[in-house]
Every structure is written in structure tokens, then in C-alpha cells.
Amino acid sequence: MISANLSAIFYLVSGVLFILALRGLSSPETSRQGNFFGILGMVIAITVTFLSTGNFSTGFLFVLIFILVGGSIGAFIAYRIPMTAMPELVAGFHSLVGLAAVFVAISAFLNPQAFNLGTQGNIKLGSLIEMSIGAAVGAITFSGSIIAFLKLQGVMSGSPITFKGQHPLNAIILLSIILLIYTLCSTQSSNIFWILLAVSFLIGFLLIIPIGGADMPVVISMLNSYSGWAAAGIGFTLENTALIITGALVGSSGAILSYIMCKGMNRSFFSVILGGFGATEETSNNTDKEQRPVKSGNADDAAFLMKNASSVIIVPGYGMAVAQAQHALREMVDTLKKNDIKVSYAIHPVAGRMPGHMNVLLAEANVPYDEVFELEEINNDFANADVAFVIGANDVTNPVAKTDPQSPIYGMPVLDVEKCKSVLFVKRSLSPGYAGIDNDLFYKENTLMLFADAKKMVEEITKAIN
């Protein structure tokens, strides 16, 4: 058994190690070391907890068993999960953090003595407030992440689910949560506590269903942030520095990512959260535009164009992930490089279904990270490039965002793909993208549409080049 002061210092150390873990991610070279710091911080926190309780009875054995069981499930998932499923995985993990926070809060509520919070029915006011906030946010994180997971997994339709009176209903529920916490603190009633949890689960569910598939990057980041605040709430209850520091880190990390994602779509955080985007516009404006002439080609045409180019920029999007085309794409790029063609990749901040989604897929396919560029870094290069190869991206290349103030995506930063001498656009059909608007790029003089499955098309082009 170690003293409370000593264990507090160790918790502080593990909090600092977690800060270093995030700091390491500032560059790929230091990132692996950062991950190691994170693991070290976790080991210290867990060991110190064991030492401070000083309880090595049968209970301790069961703790180890549960850690082992959970740990092997986690390790199994971590090694088996395909990189394309990363958004689902992260959403699933968020839900677990949320649920764990709820369970810890329930346990503390039922047995406050174990945590030094008073006795049942007479819990310290401050602790009760912290505990109920932690539990409520945890419950919202849990049910919200489950919905996000189902939407990403495709079990649930990615299109927004809206109904009349949705926003007033949500507002009423959120108000009732505050009211319930207030009542809980004055009555200490366990019934109120259970109702609070049930209502929080419900609101998490209702908050996420109106948000559509391509807004998922914002949703995932937001849930990431929530899971942090839930951890911090529990950290206050347990008076644990490691948990408070971590909660604050994770909470602000998720908030920043949501901000970056919203900026990438030029939409306010509120408009994303309120949802419904992409559901209404679809029917209105794709009737007469379908008649416009489109140049379409095959793999040989594409191979000819690229073979005669001296520089090619590749613009990947969510479609590449769906078609699992990243490896085939890398092979195509290798053949291009053999022909002394300069190739780079351009990644829009909201390409894919989560922040950094495309970068991970390209890294998986062994694309060196110094060939991959962010929007601001590469956007001026399109004017000097010969061919832009758009694979699975759509809205993020739409020039309408710069020209038509009426368009729902007006003002969104887009990749200036149309400035290239020629554009190759791999797509299954002419259907509009997520935003439900037609892409002007399809009808440009210098655009050649390649209608096919992304992976198949890329493989055929590789063959044609050789």
C-alpha cells in the first residue's frame, strides 16, 4: 500500500506521459515513441491503482481476469481490423469509453464508500454533480457512437433521419437532463439517477440520427471530444489527476478535430449537429443537367493521357476506400514512376469518413507520406500539373463551390482540379455526390470520365500503361 500523496504524484506522471503521447504525433518519426509513452503512462496508472488499494485478495484475481479478457478481445480486434474499417472501429471504441464511464458512475453511486464520497443516499454534493455529469455525457457518447457505428457500417442507412419537431424535442430532453441532475442532487434518489441515464441514452441516439454519412468526420470527432469530457467528469468524482488531465486532453483534441472538419466543409458546427444536410437538395436540380454532354473514356485513353504527362496529381476520396483500391492505385503509381512521371497525392481535409482516413489508407498501401499533401500545400500545383486523377472523390473537387453562391457547398474549400490540363475522373456513374449537387467538373472540355469500379479501372490502366 502506498500513500495517497505518492500515488497522486504517479498519476500526475502518467498524465504527463499522455501529453507526450499526443505531442509525438506532430510528425510520423516521433509518433511511435509517442505511442510508447502512452502505453507507459497507462501501465503506471494501473499499477499505482493496484498498489494504492492494497487489496490483493480474490477480487484482485478477478480484476486481472477481466483485464485479460477485455485485453485479448481488444488485441484481436486491433490485429484483424482492415484499415478501411477504421472509422467504424473508432466509433465503436468511443462507445466503449462512454459505457465504461457510465458503469463507473453507477458503481460509485451504489457504493460511494469505496470511493470516499460519503454514504449511499448521502453522497457529497460536489461528487454527485460531477458523477451525474460524467454519467450523462458517457451515456450520450455511448448511444451516439453506436448510431455512428451502425451508419458507418452500413447497417443503418447513411442518409439523415429527420422528423417534425425534432429540434424542439431534443431541446426539451436536454433541458430535462439539467433538471434531473438538479433534482438528483437535492433528493439523492436512485430512481432519478436511473431516469437520468435512460434519458441521456435517448438523447445520444436522437442527436446522431439526423446527421448524414459524409458529415461523419465531424460526428466522430465530436464523440471523441464527448468521451474525453465524460472521463474528466469521472476524474473529478474520483479526485484522480491522471483522469482529469486525460479527459481535458481528449476533450480538446476532439473539439479541435471537429472544428477542422467543419472548416473543411465551410459549415458551422451547429448546422452539422442539427443535421438533415443532403436530404432535401437531391431531387431539385439534377433533371436538365443530366442532358449535358459528357466525355467518357476507357482505360486505354487514360493510360495514353498519363503516359504522355510529366506530372500527375491523384485525388483520392471515400470511393477509393469503398472499392479497396488503394493497393491497386499504388501499383499504378509505381508504373507511372517507372516512366519518369512525377506523382503526388492531394488530400482534402474531409475526404473519407474520418479525419486522416485517406492518409492511413495510402500509408497502408506503402505510399511514402512525403508524397501525400494537404489541400493548402498542393492546391497551387494543379495549374502546373498535366493530369489530375480523381478516384472516389466528388464534392471536394466541385468548382461550383467557388463560382455559384446559390450552391449548398458554396465557400467550401475545394481542390482546384479543373486547372489541370486534363482531368480523369473515376466514378461508377454520373450520380451526384453526398451534397446532392451536380459536379460541373463532369462536363468540362478537359475532363474524361472513366465509368467503372475504381479498383478494376486502376488495374486496367496499369495493364494498359505496361
Binding site: 503521447a21 499505482v48 485478495s57
Partner: protein, 102 residues
């Protein structure tokens, strides 16, 4: 007059938000996915609360309602800790620089 320890924790909390703010802005966008998985893993440090809860029963009676919730939380958090750190490591191992000979 003595300062309530809550104020100290609140100070740590607020300052950590600022630390988080600056640290996360310096994360390169290409590593945003590993950032999410690693924050996932570290937020599972909530396991310390779960362990305290799990050990709250006495030696004759390991399981009571409170400790069962604790044990469940331990398992959930452990999935996250192992899964989160390992998948982050797997991802980070894939980020490679251009080979010199190319």
C-alpha cells in the same frame, strides 16, 4: 482560509485543456486518424475508477452490484486500452518515408 481541493483539480483541468489545445494543433493532419485512436486508448485510463469499483467488495463476497459494474467497466476499458494502443501502433508502423533509391 483554506482553499478547497476542488479548485486545484479545476486548475489542473483548465490548464490541461490549454495544453491539449496547443499540442493537438501541432499534430500533423496526416496523423489525425492515429490521433483519434490514441486518444481513445488514453481516455480508457478510466479503468482506474473501474478497478477501485471492482475491488470494493470484501474477500468473502467479491461480487456485489457495485463491483459487478466495476468489473464490466474493467473489461470494456481493457478492450479499448489494448485495442487502441495496438491499432495505433499498427497504423504508425505503416507511415514510411520515400526510399532513397527512387
Amino acid at each position: 482560509m483554506e482553499i478547497d481541493p476542488l479548485i486545484f483539480r479545476l486548475s489542473i483541468f483548465i490548464l490541461s485543456i490549454f495544453v491539449g489545445y496547443y499540442v493537438v494543433w501541432s499534430v500533423t493532419p496526416s496523423l489525425h486518424t492515429p490521433l483519434m485512436s490514441v486518444t481513445n486508448a488514453i481516455s480508457s485510463v478510466i479503468i482506474v475508477g473501474a478497478i477501485i469499483a471492482g475491488l470494493s467488495g470484501n474477500s468473502d463476497k467479491v461480487f456485489n452490484t457495485s463491483s459487478i459494474f466495476g468489473f464490466l467497466a474493467i473489461a470494456l476499458a481493457a478492450i479499448n486500452i489494448f485495442g487502441g494502443f495496438l491499432v495505433t501502433q499498427r497504423m504508425l508502423a505503416m507511415y514510411k518515408k520515400k526510399k532513397k533509391d527512387k
